[in-house]
Symmetry: C2
C-alpha cells in the first residue's frame, strides 16, 4: 500500500504521541515536529507508510534518546492481556466452532494499540465489551472481508504457518489461536516479531512473556519498521517468508507493508484507519480476515471520496 | 488561546482539505503540504491558531490561485439553512422560552462547518437530529458552560449588541436570534463578518443572502483570519468592538482569537476540537454559552492529559 497525502497529518499525530510517550518536554516535542517537517518533502509517496514510519520513529528515538520508549506500555499491555487469558480459555472451551473463536479472539487482540488508542482503561474496556458481547462481528460483508471458510480450507492444506506478530499484549490473543493451531490442528507455527523496538510492536521478550515460546518458534524479522517491510528484513526471515505455505499477518502495519505482495497471506486485523479501510473496501472498525490472494483491491477513497 | 503542538497535525488536515476543496490535483495538494512543512518552524506557538490559520489559508489560496475556494460550499450551506428557516420559525412560535430557543438554534447553526464536517448531507442530518430532539442539550454542566441566566441578565442591561459571525449557513440560525433580539427585545445589533474570504466563514454577501440586513447593520471586521484576530481588524471595527456593551461571539475561530481578551463577550459555540473543549473545561460536542468575564479558565488537557 502506498502512502497517501492523508497519512501526513497522521504522521504528525503519531510523532507527537511518541515524543510524549518518550517523556519529552514541550521543547523536545516541538523539535520532533519541526524535524518531521524537514523530512516530509524527502519522503516518497510511492513507498508504504510503514517505511516512513520507520524513519520517523528512528528520528524520534534519536532526538529523545530513548531506544524503546514504549517498553513500559508494552509490559502493561502484556500483563493486561495475560489477565484476560483465563477468560479466553473458557470462551474456547465453550465454543462450538473453536477455530472461528480463536480467529476472532486473535483479531480482537488487535485493539491493543497504544499507537492509536488512548489509555489502558479504554483498551481494557473495549476488549471486555467485545469479549462479553459474545464475539459480535459486523456480518454485513462477512464473506468478502471475513473469509473464514477460505481460511479454514487453506489451513487444512498446509503443515506450517508463518505468523507475523503486531503489537505487544495482542500476543496473548495470538497465543490462543496458535495454541489451537498447534495442539488441535497439528500445525507448526513460526512467530515472527520485529527486529528492533518500534512503537508498541511485539519483540522476542514480549512473546516469551506472553508464553508463545511454548507453542511456536519465535524469530525476528530483522526489521525495525512498524510492519514487516520486506526490504529491511533479514535474509533468514526472507527465506522463511518466501517458503511459507501460509502466512497469518496481524494488524495494519503488516497490511500496509505487505498488501502489494503475492504471498499466501491472510490478513487478520481491525481496520482502524479510514484509508486502510477504504483500501480493503470495508468500514472503520470492521474485523478483517482476508485471503490476500483472493482479494479484489478496491479503489482507495479519501475523506473527499476521491480516488488516487 | 495559544496554539498547542496538537494543532499542528490539524493544520495539515485542514490544509489538505482546503486544497482539495480548491480543486487542486494531487501534485498541488502535495505542494501545499510541503509548503506548510516549510512554514511550521516559523510559526510562534504563542499566537492563536487563528493567526496561523490566516497564513496557511493565504498560502493555499496563493498556490491554488483560488481567492474564495469555499464560495460554492458557502452558497450551498446558505441555501440549506434557508430551507430550514420556516421550521425554525415554527419552533420559535411554539417555544415557551423564546430567547432560550433562539440561543439554542444559534448554537445548533454552529454545526455547519465544512472546515470540519464532511458533507452537506451529514450536516443536514445532524442539524435535523438536533432540531427534532426538541433542543436536547447536555445538561451535565449547564450552569458552568451554558450560562443562560447570566446571558439574559446582561441582555436586559444593554441597548446594543455586537454579534460576531462565524460560518456561512450558520448565519440563518443567527438570524433567528437576531430577529428576536431586535423585534422582541428592542436591541440594536451590529453583525460583523470577515473582511476577506477565508474558509467557509461568512462574508457580507452571505449575510445578505441569509437576510440579516433586514435586522442588523452588517459590517466587516476587516480581517481575513478564520476568527476575529484583533490585530488584523480595521480601525472602524476596533472602535465598535472596544465600545460594545455586549458581544456575542459565534464559533471556535472567534473563541480562539478572543478568549484572552477582557471584553464583555458571550461565546456561543459547539465545542468540536478536543483542545478547545479542554480550554473551556467541557466535553467535545457540548453546547457552550459562556459569559467570558465570569469564566474560570481551566488548564488545557491534551490527549495525554498533560497540562502546558
Amino acid at each position: 500500500m502506498k502512502t497517501y497525502l492523508d497519512c501526513i497529518p497522521c504522521f504528525y499525530q503519531q510523532a507527537l504521541r511518541a515524543a510524549r510517550i518518550s517523556g519529552a518536554n514541550e521543547e523536545v516535542q516541538k523539535e520532533v515536529l519541526y524535524r518531521l517537517s524537514e523530512m516530509i518533502p524527502d519522503f516518497s509517496l510511492d513507498t508504504s507508510p510503514v517505511q516512513m514510519g520507520r524513519e520517523i520513529y528512528a528520528m524520534i528515538n534519536k532526538i529523545t534518546g530513548k531506544k524503546d520508549p514504549y517498553r513500559e506500555l508494552k509490559e502493561i499491555s502484556n500483563k493486561m492481556a495475560l489477565k484476560m487469558y483465563p477468560e479466553m480459555k473458557v470462551k474456547m472451551k465453550d465454543a462450538d466452532d473453536k477455530l472461528l473463536t480463536a480467529v476472532k479472539l486473535a483479531i480482537i487482540g488487535n485493539i491493543i494499540d497504544f499507537g492509536i488508542k488512548d489509555s489502558e482503561e479504554e483498551i481494557y474496556d473495549e476488549i471486555n465489551k467485545m469479549l462479553n458481547i459474545d464475539f459480535y462481528i459486523q456480518e454485513s460483508d462477512y464473506r468478502e472481508h471475513f473469509d473464514y471458510l477460505s481460511f479454514r480450507e487453506n489451513l487444512s492444506e498446509v503443515d506450517s504457518i508463518l505468523y507475523l506478530a503486531d503489537n505487544a499484549g495482542e500476543v496473548v490473543f495470538d497465543r490462543i489461536l496458535i495454541e489451537y493451531l498447534v495442539n488441535c490442528c497439528n500445525k507448526t507455527v513460526i512467530y515472527a516479531v520485529r527486529g528492533k523496538p518500534v512503537l508498541n510492536d511485539a519483540l522476542v521478550d514480549d512473546s516469551i512473556m506472553c508464553g508463545i515460546n511454548h507453542y511456536a518458534n519465535i524469530i525476528s524479522s530483522g526489521a525495525d519498521s512498524p510492519g514487516v517491510a520486506l526490504k529491511h528484513c533479514s535474509p533468514e526471515f526472507m527465506r522463511i517468508f518466501n517458503e511459507a505455505e501460509m502466512i497469518i499477518s496481524k494488524g495494519q502495519g503488516n497490511y500496509e507493508a505487505l498488501s502489494d505482495e503475492t504471498s499466501p497471506l491472510f490478513f487478520l486485523l481491525i481496520a482502524k484507519c479510514p484509508l486502510i479501510a477504504s483500501h480493503i473496501g470495508c468500514d472503520v472498525g470492521d474485523f478483517i480476515l482476508e485471503n490476500h490472494l483472493k482479494r479484489k483491491i478496491m479503489p482507495v477513497e479519501t475523506a473527499e471520496g476521491k480516488d488516487f
